[in-house]
Symmetry: C2
Subunit: 629 residues, 2 copies
């Protein structure tokens, strides 16, 4: 073998470091001159940040938007969890979108792309827990669709990876279950009866609407992060897996037995064609391909032990994957991959799926350090790999390498920056496009261990802003992020122009009303309807009368057409709060169960007379006639 | 009259400014040298903030903790809304605490006090929407109790105001309803049949447990913010009201008719005594005092038109209240108040409640500027008043004033700082204690109007950090806060020492288990129980077997005793996520409704083998026997 998996570091010592939770030794303080640093992240009052940081809210179920370089939190975009702050999950439409779930586990946001560049249309995020994908529209920063639970899939962790022109959101399963879902098989039959899945979620180019395109069956490996191709790897996508042992018990031991795991190299254009050619079998309503029966759709590639992802470089030629339990990162040359496939240079097959010859496709192994996880790129030929065990970021040079460099691979690693503590993900703006922004790197560290003012046992994580514009990295600022930022995307602020007001002309809600005269209430059987105007500084009407047992349906329209003139509608002791942005209409449905007089009021500050913006819901006891109608 | 309510400014022009939403003219940029400013708020990586900023999360229902001077968000403390990020609202205990509500409208956090100083024990916050008060324990930054909905009360806005030794949390109603709650009366009878209420929430000195002490009936005014006394005003509390017109329709017009509104000056020690003396009537289980029948409990005090609060100075002698629709702030001398009460110097009575003679108790009117709302103190004799209409903070001198100053009251206002935009609340650390920290002021502005990177129609508010250590205020930094920070409390970080781990010895959960051997599952009829250990990097047991129709009760213990070693337990497609801090046990109950194999996994990063920390919930179809038991 030309490149061997390094084993010079004793696994036991790695494990000891792993279980300790953070790297040995005291963290270095990365800066010596606080003075100059302060200017770097400072954004003066009245000035704006240069970049958006869209970061995963983990098991909060949300996406957070911060600014770079200030690292200030700007807003929360509610996605998989209700958020009364914007009324999300309280009006009929968002309640229906959330369905039976009130949380999600957001992992990896992915910006839409056109020609392998961010196009500023949408942000996609996945829910690992309940197997869903959501689409946020960057025109208004709102969640517009939640697709799922995805059939035949459990643990939607390996997503959301966007193809070159947003043809698909590609997702892969972390868990395997007997298929179709709902079937029970003995755990002992795990290797045979359980399956993982790669899915192509089709995206409508006009509307962004997602639908399930096709799926590819996989062995019950645990798929982790992936990446899509571009340039020479156009039409391909890649994932690593960390349980090719197919263990189902005590994974902490049993899933670390093999010296290497597999990545899957998937030709999604071929998969699309194979499905069009009728080569799929329908399972739970989805066309599913068996890759052993459809050659050319999926290949396996040996990678280091327990990898957590694979990252395509901006050119699309270099595919980088690291095994967490080895101290090197492998660079695969996709041109060699194509040649090996052409030449059928396979070192093995696994369940009928060809395993590419590692020696034939690996360009080299870079000795980045301990616990390498993920890699980002600055577009200047540099790569940045997170080192979990070392708690550091390694900067290194992508190929092509000189003969001198090949002879001394240590020389390829040009810098290392300690981070605090135990970095998982990291992000460089545009790293997954063909033109990265470079400039800033955000290290998303898994543990903060008291780097912040003590807030008790439930600690946030820490994210650190690193300046990568120079030859050496410079630690600039530290922010706290909760919970668990699994990944982020960076977008230039001036790349998009979100609307600040919903134009009246676009409001097609059947019960929108635009003047106080039109606001009214009426009864249809046991249902009381109300069309309400919200405008500085009143509701119209400001009294709703009904009786116990009625259903109440309120349509509230914020008739303002001015930026930041937002109204809320909260109803006392009825667990209702919606927020209505300028030009928006929202519908609320509630069952009236108790008699009394219940004030409602504007919950979102709107004007000096905001406090006066209130009304009354009068609920007569059941059977009695409403007082004044 | 010695001091007249100024009316030199035409109300129409004020209203025009009000309705415009922000002050006329371009905002001044308050700083000219970005260079020196950057250092002021900068906290270098590895350094900690000096102060906690506990700020209201408004209708998000939560409390946010930020650091000062960096203004970085550190954590969210979930209070009135579920928060899957910490599993709050998903385990049995927190679900029971939330009851039927999944949101609240958090307004005014109040730190517990001993001898009129912060004692670092608890933080109390109110829910304006559902009439509740919550207690957060600062030992672990967790919500421990939610009291309410409070009987006989609607719109718990005028709280949470903590008495000198945390004897009571004092709260007052924003809305009025027919009492007891549940009764319906015609809106036309508003002035006679509807009532407001002041409540004394008793706090157990050992445990912090809150219970309803007593209430005082009020006319149907809309009570707004209040303040408790100290020093000469010990035993007293104060609120302003903004609808002494007792309007119930179109308040934006009808509640601004009178030239002045009333503040209520309440002797809570007398109220407590009167209740002990049997002078209360029970309404809905609470002893309620009628202040017209119990002299000495409540007095009314004329204040400027449409006030939004009253603030006691650190000495307890000066009580400051502003009418939003007048350009001055009134300083009342509490020694004169006591004298006027003693002398029965009343200018009027309202429904049997004495109205104190304004001229006899007002020390003076300070021409602070347009739209004065709230006032904070630095302990150096300076007061800071938020000016909503001017979008500014006015700095002025508290009495005693010289004769020269009295002759030129403009001279009392020593500085003014523009803020962006339309400030509501403001906070100076310790302002409500007898020893303010001074140093920093945070202006909580109601509108941001595009001062941040554009995030669409749902915009955050902006909070600005102002250095008040010098003679002139200096604008230092701007952060974004969502939604609507209604007030905040500042506490020195080194004033408390929260725990980071729950000691095993304190865990008295009956189903806690502390070793993998002890973890087990068992069946009792249609209920399957599981005692599960969570420890790096596995669950024990890692398989739970049950069948459709079973109830599943899981008790999961995080047996770690190391800071920041937090585990989560998420169950795929079952809407369950809990987070278990080190040493904690949580119980989850769920009904099993669908067959299948459902992975569960650790949702909160714990170690390098976190990803391997998983198990399976196997649910057989109804009627079938569990596979292996």
């Amino acid at each position: 073998m030309k490149y061997k998996f390094s084993s010079s570091i004793i696994l036991g010592s790695i494990l000891a470091a792993l279980l300790g939770g953070c790297s040995a030794g005291d963290p270095e303080t990365a800066n010596t001159s606080g003075d100059s640093l302060a200017e770097k992240s400072f954004v003066a009052p009245g000035e704006k940040d240069e970049f958006y940081l869209f970061y995963s809210g983990g098991h909060s179920g949300q996406v957070f938007v911060a600014g770079i370089p200030s690292m200030r939190h700007i807003v929360t975009i509610p996605v998989f969890s209700p958020y009364p702050g914007t009324g999300y999950g309280f009006d009929d439409e968002s309640r229906a979108m959330l369905g039976e779930y009130t949380w999600g586990d957001v992992h990896h946001p992915g910006l839409s792309q056109t020609d392998s560049l961010y196009d500023g249309r949408w942000l996609f995020v996945n829910d690992n827990a309940n197997n869903r994908v959501a689409r946020i529209d960057l025109r208004d920063f709102k969640t517009k669709q939640i697709l799922g639970p995805i059939p035949n899939s459990s643990g939607n962790h390996g997503s959301s990876f966007v193809t070159e022109n947003t043809e698909y959101i590609l997702v892969a399963t972390r868990f395997s279950v007997p298929l179709p879902k709902g079937r029970v098989a003995p755990m002992e039959s795990y290797a045979d009866e359980f399956n993982g899945m790669v899915s192509g979620i089709k995206v409508d180019q006009e509307t962004g609407e997602m639908s399930l395109g096709w799926q590819i069956l996989t062995p019950p490996f645990n798929w982790d992060l992936g990446s899509t191709g571009k340039g020479p790897s156009s039409g391909w996508a890649f994932w690593t897996s960390y349980n090719t042992e197919m263990a189902h018990e005590t994974l902490e031991v049993n899933a670390s037995q093999r010296d290497r795991d597999y990545a899957a190299f998937v030709n999604w254009k071929s998969a699309e064609q194979a499905v069009a050619d009728g080569k799929a079998e329908m399972i739970d309503g989805v066309p599913v391909l068996d890759p052993s029966a459809v050659p050319g759709v999926m290949y396996f590639v040996p990678v280091g032990k327990s990898p957590h992802g694979v990252d395509t470089d901006p050119s699309g030629r270099w595919i980088v994957a690291s095994g967490k339990l080895q101290p090197t990162t492998t660079v695969y040359d996709f041109e060699k991959v194509l040649a090996a496939i052409e030449a059928e240079d396979f070192q093995d097959t696994f369940r009928g799926i060809p395993v590419l010859n590692y020696d034939a496709i690996a360009e080299g192994e870079v000795p980045v350090g301990l616990g390498p996880l993920h890699t980002q790129y600055d577009g200047e030929g540099n790569a940045y790999t997170s080192l979990y065990i070392e708690s550091a970021v390694a900067k290194w040079k992508l190929p092509p390498w000189t003969e001198e460099q090949r002879a001394d691979m240590e020389s390829i690693v040009t810098d290392k920056m300690p981070v605090h503590f135990n970095i998982g993900h990291l992000v460089v703006g545009g790293s997954d496009t063909r033109e990265p922004y470079g400039k800033w790197l955000v290290a998303m560290n898994k543990l903060s261990k008291g780097r912040h003012a003590n807030v008790g046992p439930s600690q946030p994580e820490s994210s650190q802003l690193i300046d990568i514009s120079g030859e050496k990295m410079e630690m600039v600022f530290e922010a706290y992020t909760e919970p668990e930022p699994h990944f982020a995307q960076i977008l230039k602020v001036d790349a998009i122009e979100p609307i600040e007001v919903y134009p009246k002309a676009e409001n097609h809600h059947p019960h929108a009303v635009w003047s106080l005269d039109e606001g009214t209430t009426w009864r249809e059987g046991d249902t009381v309807h109300a069309k309400i105007v919200a405008v500085r500084s009143r509701f119209g009407p400001e009294k709703i009368e009904a009786k116990v047992g009625d259903k109440l349906v309120i349509h509230v329209t914020n008739i303002e057409q001015t930026s930041d003139m937002i109204h809320g509608l909260g109803i006392s002791e009825h667990n209702i709060n919606v927020v209505i942005d300028p030009g928006e209409t929202k519908t609320i449905t509630l069952d009236l169960k108790k008699p009394g007089v219940f004030p409602f009021y504007c919950t979102n500050f709107c004007s000096a007379l905001h406090q006066e913006m209130q009304g009354y819901l009068v609920v007569e006891p059941a059977g009695e006639t409403a007082m004044s109608q």
